[in-house]
C-alpha cells in the first residue's frame, strides 16, 4: 500500500540535497547568465526546504522564520542581478558567460 508510507524528514532533506545539487551543476554547466542566476535561486529554495523540514522535526520556529529572511534576500538578489544582466545585454545582445572573458591573466 502506497498510502502507508509516511514521508519522514530525511526524505525532504534528500530532496533538498538533490535540488541543491541540480542548482550547483546548473551554475557550473550552463553558459547563459540568466540561467545560471535561476540555478542560484534554485539552490536558495532547496535550502528553504531543508529549513522547513528541520524546523518541523525539531518543532522549533527558528527555521521557519529563517525562510522568510531567505526569501527577502532572494528577492533583493533578483533586483540586483537582473539590473547587472540588463545593463550588459544593452551593450551587446546575446551575451553568454563565454563572451565575458575580457579579464584574464
Amino acid at each position: 500500500m502506497l498510502s502507508a508510507i509516511e514521508p519522514t524528514t530525511s526524505w525532504y532533506l534528500i530532496l533538498s540535497a538533490v535540488l541543491f545539487g541540480i542548482g550547483t551543476v546548473g551554475v557550473l554547466v550552463r553558459r547563459n547568465p540568466l540561467v545560471m542566476f535561476m540555478c542560484i535561486e534554485l539552490m536558495l529554495n532547496a535550502v528553504n526546504l531543508s529549513f522547513v523540514a528541520l524546523a518541523t522535526q525539531l518543532s522549533n520556529i527558528n527555521g521557519q522564520v529563517a525562510v522568510f529572511f531567505v526569501m527577502v534576500v532572494a528577492a533583493a538578489e533578483v533586483v540586483v542581478g537582473l539590473g547587472i544582466i540588463v545593463s550588459i545585454m544593452r551593450r551587446r545582445t546575446n551575451a553568454t558567460a563565454d563572451d565575458l572573458s575580457g579579464l584574464r591573466g
Binding site: 529549513f51 527558528n62 529572511f69 534576500v73 550588459i88 565575458l100
Partner: protein
C-alpha cells in the same frame, strides 16, 4: 498563546546600535535628498559620506571607551554582540569608508559623473559589514553578508562606460551568489543538528550552538549533518575572504572594478568576512576545533603559496595587488589557525593584521588610481616604468607601501607579519610559520619587481603626471600611518591587544 498574550518584541538598547543607525540614516538621506536636490557643491557627496562614516567612527570610539570594565554584551535577544572585537572591526571598516569616499570623489570628478548612488552604496556596504562582524546569530550574519555583497556587486559593475567593470560585476554576482547559497546550506545543516542558529547564548533554554555542542554526548545521526554544515559554512566564508582554492574571482573582479571600489572590496570585504569567520569558528564551534582546524591549516598554506606565486607572473599592477591580497588572506588565516589553539594572541594579531592591511591597501590602490588615466586604463606594469623620474614623491610613497606589504622592518607590514608569526610560533604551529615565511619571500619578489621598474627603468613618456588633491591626501595619510605604526607599533598594539569576544 503567543498572540493571545500579545507579541512582545525584544528590548532594543538603541544607544548600542548608534553607529548602524547613523550609517543607515546617512544612506537614506543621501538617496532621498540627492535625488531631490540636483546641484550639490563640489565633492559634496563625498564630504557627506565621509562625515557620516566619521560620526559612526566617533560613536564606536565612545563605545570602545565604555567597554573598559566589561568585555561586551549581547543585545536584541542575543542577535548581535557589542564587544571589543566588533568595535575594533567597525572602526577599521569606517576608516576604509572615509578613505574610499575621498578616492571616489576624485574618480568621479575625473569622469564628470558625480552622483549620490554609489556613496549611498558605500554606506550600506559598511552597514552590512558591521552587522556581519557583530552578529551572534547565523541568520543575522547571513543578512549582513548579503547587504554587504549586494552593495559590492553593484559597486563593481558601477562604471557603465567600461565593459570590464560590467564583466567584473556579473562574475562577482554569480560566484558570490553561489558561495552565499553554500553558506546558507551550511546554516541549515548546523541548525538541523544543533537546533539553534545562535552562536552563543548564556541561558539554558533556548540553547546556542556552542552550548548544544558542549552538552551533546555523541549524537550519532546528527554528526554527519553537523560536519557537512561546518564544511559548507567554511566554503562560503573562504570564498568571501578569497582564500585559495576559492580565490579565482578575486583577480578578475579587482581588475575590472573601478579602482576606489577595488580598494573598498579588498579592505572592507575582507575585514568583515574574516571577523565573521573568526566569530563563527571560535565562539560558535569551539567544541569542534579538531574538525575545522586542519581545514584552516590547509587553506592557509594553499592561500599564501597560490597568492604569492600567481602574483609574480602578472603583468598588470591591479592584478598583482589582487593576488597579493590573496596572499595577505593566507597570512590572516595563519592567525586564525593560531587563535584556534584557544591560547596565545592569534585573535589579536589577526585583527591587528586586518587593520594594518586595510590602510596599506587603501594607499596602494590610491597610487594605482593616481597613475591610471581615464576609465581605469594604464595600470600595466609597463606604465609604472620610470615613475621615479616623472614623480619621485609618488614613486617613493608606492615603494614604502610595497615594502610594507612585503613586511620590511620599520613599516607597519612588519608589525603585522611579525605578530602573526609570533602567535603561530607561540602555540607551536612551526610548520605553518615556516611555510608562510617561505611564501613571504616569494611574495617579496613581486613587490621588488614593481619597485625596480619604477626606479631603475626609463620612462616611456615624459608627460607630466597630475595627482588630484583628494588622492594625494589618501596617499599621504596611509604612508604616514604605515611609517608611524612601523616605528611605534605599541600605538596600535595596545589597542588590539585588548580585543576579546563577549562570551569569554
Amino acid at each position: 498563546m503567543l498572540l493571545a498574550n500579545g507579541l512582545v518584541g525584544p528590548s532594543i538598547p538603541w544607544t548600542d546600535i548608534v553607529p548602524l543607525l547613523i550609517l543607515l540614516g546617512g544612506a537614506c538621506f543621501l538617496l532621498l535628498v540627492g535625488s531631490l536636490v540636483t546641484t550639490w557643491p563640489r565633492h559634496g557627496y563625498a564630504w557627506f559620506t565621509g562625515a557620516t562614516a566619521a560620526a559612526a567612527l566617533v560613536a564606536n570610539c565612545v563605545e570602545w571607551n565604555n567597554l573598559q570594565k566589561e568585555v561586551g554584551r549581547s543585545i536584541i535577544a542575543d542577535a548581535i554582540f557589542v564587544d571589543r572585537f566588533s568595535v575594533l572591526g567597525s572602526i577599521t571598516v569606517l576608516g576604509a569608508v572615509i578613505f574610499t569616499s575621498i578616492l571616489m570623489s576624485a574618480y568621479m570628478q575625473r569622469s564628470d559623473e558625480d552622483g549620490p548612488e554609489l556613496y549611498a552604496l558605500f554606506l550600506t556596504a559598511a552597514f552590512g559589514a558591521i552587522v556581519m562582524l557583530s552578529a551572534n546569530d547565523l541568520i543575522v550574519l547571513f543578512l549582513g553578508l548579503e547587504i554587504l555583497s549586494l552593495s559590492l556587486y553593484l559597486l563593481a559593475a558601477s562604471n557603465r562606460r567600461r565593459e570590464q567593470s560590467q564583466e567584473a560585476g556579473i562574475k562577482y554576482f554569480v560566484l558570490g551568489g553561489f558561495a552565499s547559497a553554500f553558506f546558507l546550506y551550511g546554516i541549515a545543516l548546523v541548525y538541523g543538528s544543533t537546533g539553534s542558529t545562535q552562536l552563543y547564548v548564556n541561558t539554558s533554554t533556548p540553547q546556542g550552538i556552542a552550548q548544544a555542542l558542549g552538552s551533546q554526548v555523541a549524537v550519532s545521526g546528527n554528526e554527519s549533518l553537523l560536519l557537512i554544515g561546518i564544511g559548507l559554512l567554511m566554503i562560503g566564508l573562504a570564498f568571501k575572504v578569497s582564500a585559495a582554492p576559492f580565490h579565482v574571482w578575486a583577480p578578475d573582479v579587482y581588475e575590472g572594478a573601478p579602482t576606489p571600489v577595488t580598494a573598498f572590496m579588498a579592505s572592507v570585504g575582507k575585514v568583515a568576512a574574516f571577523a565573521a569567520l573568526l566569530r563563527v569558528l571560535l565562539v560558535g564551534l569551539p567544541q569542534r576545533v579538531d574538525d575545522w582546524r586542519p581545514v584552516v591549516f590547509a587553506l592557509a598554506i594553499a592561500t599564501v603559496f597560490i597568492g604569492s606565486i600567481m602574483a609574480v607572473v602578472q603583468t598588470n599592477v591591479k592584478r598583482m595587488l589582487a593576488y597579493s591580497s590573496v596572499s595577505h588572506a593566507g597570512f590572516i588565516l595563519v592567525g586564525v589557525e593560531a587563535a584556534a589553539h584557544m591560547r596565545g594572541d592569534g585573535l589579536a594579531s589577526s585583527m591587528n593584521y586586518l587593520a594594518i592591511y586595510t590602510v596599506l591597501v587603501m594607499g596602494s590602490f590610491a597610487i594605482v588610481l593616481a597613475m591610471s588615466g581615464q576609465q581605469d586604463a594604464d595600470t600595466a606594469l609597463t606604465d609604472f616604468r620610470g615613475l621615479a623620474k616623472r614623480r619621485p614623491a609618488l614613486a617613493l610613497a608606492f615603494s614604502i607601501l610595497l615594502f610594507a606589504q612585503a613586511g620590511v622592518p620599520f613599516t607597519s607590514g612588519f608589525v603585522a607579519k611579525f605578530g602573526i608569526m609570533k602567535s603561530a610560533v607561540d602555540v607551536g604551529s612551526y610548520a605553518l610559520a615556516v611555510a608562510t615565511m617561505v611564501a613571504a619571500v616569494i611574495g617579496a619578489f613581486l613587490y621588488l619587481r614593481i619597485v625596480v621598474s619604477m626606479w631603475l627603468e626609463e620612462p616611456d613618456t615624459s608627460e607630466p603626471l597630475n595627482v588630484a588633491k583628494p588622492v594625494a591626501i589618501v596617499i599621504v595619510l596611509s604612508v604616514a600611518f604605515t611609517l608611524i605604526v612601523g616605528m611605534f607599533p605599541d600605538l596600535l598594539l595596545d589597542a588590539t591587544r585588548l580585543v576579546r569576544f563577549a562570551p569569554r
